[in-house]
Subunit: 309 residues, 3 copies
Amino acid sequence: MTAIDFRGRDLLGMAELSAAEIRYLLDAVPPFKEVSQRDIKKVPTLRGKTIVNLFFEPSTRTRTSFEIAGKRMSADVINVSVATSSLSKGESLRDMADNLAAMQVDLLVVRHQVAGVPHMLARYLSIPVINAGDGAHEHPTQALLDLFTIEERLGSLRDKTVLLVGDIANSRVARSNIFAMRKLGMRVRVCGPRTMLPPGLERLGVEVSSDFDEAIQDADVVMMLRIQRERHGEVLFPSPQEYAERYCLTAERLRRAKAEVLVLHPGPINRGLEIAPEVADGLASAILQQVTNGVAVRMALLYLILGGS
Amino acid sequence: MTAIDFRGRDLLGMAELSAAEIRYLLDAVPPFKEVSQRDIKKVPTLRGKTIVNLFFEPSTRTRTSFEIAGKRMSADVINVSVATSSLSKGESLRDMADNLAAMQVDLLVVRHQVAGVPHMLARYLSIPVINAGDGAHEHPTQALLDLFTIEERLGSLRDKTVLLVGDIANSRVARSNIFAMRKLGMRVRVCGPRTMLPPGLERLGVEVSSDFDEAIQDADVVMMLRIQRERHGEVLFPSPQEYAERYCLTAERLRRAKAEVLVLHPGPINRGLEIAPEVADGLASAILQQVTNGVAVRMALLYLILGGS
Amino acid sequence: MTAIDFRGRDLLGMAELSAAEIRYLLDAVPPFKEVSQRDIKKVPTLRGKTIVNLFFEPSTRTRTSFEIAGKRMSADVINVSVATSSLSKGESLRDMADNLAAMQVDLLVVRHQVAGVPHMLARYLSIPVINAGDGAHEHPTQALLDLFTIEERLGSLRDKTVLLVGDIANSRVARSNIFAMRKLGMRVRVCGPRTMLPPGLERLGVEVSSDFDEAIQDADVVMMLRIQRERHGEVLFPSPQEYAERYCLTAERLRRAKAEVLVLHPGPINRGLEIAPEVADGLASAILQQVTNGVAVRMALLYLILGGS
């Protein structure tokens, strides 16, 4: 266990981590959470380190969360937003990453709409890469912040039952969480329209339900996923109204759950589509706590990769 | 008077401030102006504070002015530019602001094309909000820097006569200045085509003139407003030429004014439309001094809200 | 020689510099290169200085290189990206630059698609301007980093033969290098399709060849230029295949050169069009070393202009 060391390593996905490694990352978070609660939210830990946020997909929150995490530890953070069109002008992804590395950048945070891009860059580059979301594949820092939030609220992870609801097949958040939760001994159940459930879930030890009202009853955590209206609209479900009727987490549905159930959502939320406003803003919701913890989780991770042990 | 304290407060508009509060803000500016005149333009005052520039409307100068103001006081400044389209993808304004606040951001600087958005966010959020311009409503830091510049050049504000020229009805700069100037005992006169004058000006104690040549004669300050060619063009005035003929501040017109008259413009200027190049660059013009003072005013404000008393 | 002093000066082009001045700049680079090799890549040299990257043309690498260079010396770096459209809304270039200067910015780094814009701004502004590329005119920091890299690899510059290949007529990189290399006593030869060779090269002391296979034989350095597919396509050469056949630096072509030949490219590279992948990534290539040196050259330059002697 003491052999775990993230210095210089990539974080590409939860699929690649052992239970002990996930545990190690989660245990490192609390002192970093404390930094953001101070009056002066700044430590010199990563002074003189250069972190590049290389985002090929627009993102306000994840980019901002990494930027704040880096700056609170005194790193130099450089934002590089690349519209796919500019890349098509002839500079390959690899060449772009090579160039950033040649500027003696210490770490690359990469988001890309195509699954596998961060892995490809990590294999190629000698500097560490953090996957900030790749297509429908993985979003490991989201899973870490989700796990940290669950543990913070429920006291432990083991044997807890988590229900993920929505477009499981296209969600990198769901995939990362399923990998991590299974490794940590949690019970995972998913629920959503058939068209949104990928094949092979049972092989991952995941239960599948198509009845939200039933599936919610013994859940300790309900994690609602964001519905991409624009991508799926007509194809995957008949109408927003019909979707909401069966899969929106309403106050009424929540009453079927345990009294102490925890509601999570990776954001941005579609109020009234996958989650009712009164639930998103209610006492069971830890949605904003997830955002707060996201900064702390990313601080810990940047620290472990760039600095400490 | 000693009870004035801006710590933790919002700055949404000049309408909400008392004369004493405006006075208090203006009196705080000089030491901050001095910082930018040093060889090393940096003080540790806001070290460990996180300021987010949340801009829904493109803006080079106001965003840059706030960014420089924050960085010169060692704050971490995060720029978030949101195209309206991305917001329409389903994340409400409130959720976006909630998320930023959850990242333990200390202050939000907000510009939005819709009047009232900063007020809505301020009501909702527990962190302070500065309005950096909302629709045709208010732009309070612009009014503060205008007042500071007038006082710096003319020695005092009370009983001075200010002539505002142009599209009064659609100008947040005009509104914020009118509110503040009236509170500070200044005489305010406006001049412009009828279609650009809002109803109810007299109720605010503002004189209305449609003859620029006459109205300029006893003015201590002439504040020219930016004409939005693209928005009004055909509708509000017949042609740029006809507009300029009646309302452009030319050298000839300026000769009708007092010898020591002061010329202001919030920028960006349309040379030859609302102001002649030789006037904009002439001795009476304080246009660049306004820009310099803008950084100082914003530094003072950030300091008073985030730190001192 | 001791009279050379860059404090407060502009860097607009290699055409304006003497051989002694270029020498002086190159000699200043090594200690700055060393900073980026440290574990803590940060020195306080430019603390309290404000540098604005004013980019009218999109650029990931040059903008990032300047940003990293400034931040590693603790300067406040502000990025201002201006789409040409927004400028056309009525704010003249000069007014925009005036405004930035009025915010007591210490230095402007300017890239613009029109030749001469940085020069125009430099004439007008009292603060120093660095040209980061203006149209097809000059890109002086690129030439400096190229020279530094050649000297680092080959030991000296004098009497070395450099072969530039590609679209000489439209390349600001070629122009800046030709000016500088001739001043430093290097032999310069160019090669490319006739349509891509500007008139008057002989007057600059440049040899012209249209046979790449012959021209490469005694070259110490081969500098490949980027082909703008989108700009020239149909007009300047029949097809990418035909262009590559005659002017792509392939492994086979490289074998005709000296054993210790050095391959340079300013990037971004078009693999397979002007340079073969195995050459770009091969032992003769110093392409990534150029990028590394770019940060060091820009650090030295910012330091000499803003701080030291």
